[in-house]
């Protein structure tokens, strides 16, 4: 159990900066997921916590102790690698027990703990095998057992599920979550898969291009993405984003040949400007021609439990989730209502979120619930 503080941490390779000042704090026992596209610096950050990369500037503290100058073994972290990095010439037991062997734990004690750890991950029957004779999921378990046996205060996972097939990934995801509940060590999990991130995280960190875009609980981030990047990265199918114009005189948000009326005071506060507006496909509502925006259906994706309708709005691709009963075919027209409560508005220059509520902290206020329909 340990809390982690990351203060103004930077990383450059030669003259190329990859991390531009990261500030994060993780509470003890938290399951943190760092999410971002490849090359965003998430793995670098994890490796810096582990001690495998040098810290160019700033400091990292584990349990209040600055670890910048400490060797990996002195930091109390254990890491699960993407390709597992098992020792190919050692048996499963040898792999799991290697850290103890290095630490000079007596053999009897070591064997007892290997057995105990193997039981947690369900590998007792495979202790004599070499990694080459194991399946992907079993190798993954060995890698986890190797981390568990050290009784670390911090678990680090570097995209540990991305080498597994889709079904196994779901199983292992659940197992990692269960393991965390059982051991309750602070865990940091790096991934580019937003489903993994949403399902596993107590706290989600979204990174892009070497900066932290947003930190928060998964649902908060889903409901209130702080930037266009976060909005488009979280959620599947991805959020629809299109251009709109805020008109102060008409007190409305104009897009797609329609106008959505907004509160006068709000319009005055935001001012006359062009913005980017987003709405999640699952929050579009199918309605009548008179009330909604009419769009031509380009193609339809069947999901079984429903379908995703793809069309276009103002030249931007637009997806909407509809239920099983709504039968549409390519070429049909569909009318969609975009409820104001579910609209996300972003500044077009900075990409940051613009709050539509008067008082962002007051939760879902009355103004937001005023669903004003298309004119």
């Amino acid at each position: 159990m340990a809390d982690i503080a990351i203060r103004a941490v930077r990383k450059s390779y030669g003259k190329t900066p990859t991390l531009h000042g990261i500030d994060l704090a993780f509470a003890s026992g938290e399951f943190v997921v760092i999410l971002g596209p490849s090359g965003c610096g998430k793995s670098t950050l994890l490796r810096m916590i582990a001690g495998l990369e040098e810290i160019t500037a700033g400091e990292i503290a584990i349990n209040g102790r600055v670890v910048n100058r400490l060797e990996p073994r002195e930091r109390g972290c254990a890491m699960v690698f993407q390709n597992y990095a098992l020792y190919p010439h050692m048996t499963v037991a040898g792999n799991i027990g290697y850290a103890l062997k290095v630490a000079g734990v007596p053999k009897a004690e070591r064997l007892r703990r290997i057995e105990e750890t193997a039981r947690i991950v369900g590998l007792v029957d495979y202790l004599d095998r070499k990694p080459a004779a194991l399946s992907g999921g079993q190798r993954q378990r060995v890698a986890m057992a190797r981390a568990i046996i050290r009784e670390p205060s911090v678990f680090l996972f570097d995209e540990p599920l991305s080498n597994l097939d889709a079904k196994l990934r779901v199983t292992m995801r659940a197992e990692i979550r269960k393991l965390h509940q059982r051991l309750s060590a602070t865990s940091i999990f790096v991934t580019h898969d937003q489903v993994e991130a949403m399902t596993l995280a107590d706290k989600l960190v979204v990174m892009n291009k070497g900066v932290v875009e947003q930190v928060g609980q998964p649902l908060d981030i889903y409901h209130r993405p702080a930037s266009i990047f976060v909005a488009s990265f979280i959620g599947s199918p991805a959020m629809n984003l299109f251009d709109a114009h805020i008109s102060v005189d008409d007190a409305c948000l104009a897009f797609g040949g329609t106008k959505v009326a907004i509160d006068k005071a709000l319009a005055a506060r935001l001012g006359e400007r062009h913005v980017t507006v987003g709405i999640r496909p699952e929050q579009c509502v199918v309605t009548s021609e008179a009330r909604g925006i009419s769009m031509k259906v380009d193609f339809v994706e069947e999901l079984g439990s429903g379908r995703v309708v793809h069309s276009e709005l103002d030249g931007h691709p637009f997806a909407a989730c509809v239920d099983e009963e709504t039968l549409v075919r390519p070429g049909d027209r569909i009318a969609l209502e975009l409820p104001l409560a579910h609209l996300h508005v972003f500044d077009r220059e900075t990409g940051r979120r613009i709050e539509l509520e008067f008082e962002p902290r007051s939760g879902r206020s009355a103004t937001k619930r005023q669903m004003l329909e298309a004119v």
Partner: protein, 295 residues
């Protein structure tokens, strides 16, 4: 071959048999000649049939060229070269691949460049160094103080002199470097996370993983060390340190002596045996290591 026609098959076999005869031919001559009497070996045409005089000829060769000491010397030399070379290359490659130092590239190229300088090319300067190891220090002292210090320190007529120059070459380092580069970085990182330092990592991970590599290098180096001729010829004047390749000369019939080629051939057969045994024994491990590659 993609196409399988009778003609193509016949051609393939023809080429293969031709190559086989070319390789095995001299060996057949040695074996049959070594087992024949003086008269038989000198009769024309030469008979390729082995006879029953092999052991007699061998013992004659053994005493004439005093192969006992020579074999021992060669064995010690080849073993020292092998062990030294494997140890040195494993360690130098370890330093080059796994450590981040500013001069890493420089050192690698310095080692690499010696690939282009085999012993035969630098034999004269190497001999000069081996014959007078104290020379650089002496030059330095005389340059600084003006004194001439006379210290006689050389490697002539010693096992060190026979082996050291053969150990310090780049081939093995290069082989090991290529092998280390195939190991994923995560392996070293995982070991670091498990608390193992560099030496521990070398012993626990790299040595067992490079077993195949090591056996291949051992095979090559033992044969290489055993077959050295030029260097022992230069370094050794004392018959106590003679190697087999040098005593082979003593077995050759002299210009006006009796042409007893049967004894010469029996001697060379004895000299050929140890590397043959090493290759035969290690090849089994070597092939097994290659077949059962672990990912």
């Amino acid at each position: 071959m993609i196409q399988r026609t009778p003609f193509a098959n016949a051609l393939t076999y023809g080429v293969m048999i031709f190559g086989f005869l070319l390789l095995i031919g001299p060996f057949v001559v040695i074996v049959s000649g070594a087992s024949q009497t003086f008269q038989q070996v000198n009769s024309i045409p030469f008979s390729f049939l082995p006879q029953d005089r092999l052991l007699e000829n061998m013992s004659a060769a053994w005493t004439r060229a005093s192969l006992g000491t020579a074999m021992l010397n060669s064995f010690v030399m080849a073993s020292l070269v092998t062990v030294g070379k494997v140890a040195l290359s494993a360690l130098t490659a370890f330093a080059i691949v796994f450590f981040r130092t500013p001069l890493k590239g420089f050192f690698f190229w310095m080692v690499f460049i010696t690939l282009m300088l085999p012993l035969e090319v630098r034999v004269v300067p190497t001999y000069a160094v081996a014959a007078d190891l104290f020379q650089p220090v002496r030059l330095l002292i005389s340059a600084v103080t003006g004194f001439e210090v006379s210290v006689d320190w050389n490697l002539l007529n010693s096992y060190a002199g026979l082996t050291l120059p053969l150990i310090a070459t780049a081939t093995g380092t290069f082989l090991y470097r290529q092998f280390y580069l195939t190991l994923p970085d995560e392996l070293a990182e995982a070991a670091r996370m498990d608390g193992s330092g560099p030496i521990r990592f070398f012993i626990d991970m790299l040595l067992p993983l490079s077993r195949t590599n090591m056996l291949a290098l051992t095979t090559i180096m033992f044969v290489y060390g055993w077959n050295q001729y030029l260097w022992p010829l230069l370094m050794v004047t004392d018959p106590q340190y003679k190697t087999t390749m040098m005593s082979l000369v003593a077995l050759l019939p002299s210009d006006n002596g009796t042409p007893d080629w049967n004894v010469t051939l029996a001697g060379s057969l004895i000299i050929m045996l140890p590397p043959l045994v090493v290759v035969a024994v290690l090849q089994r491990w070597f092939v097994r290591g290659l077949v059962a590659t672990e990912k």
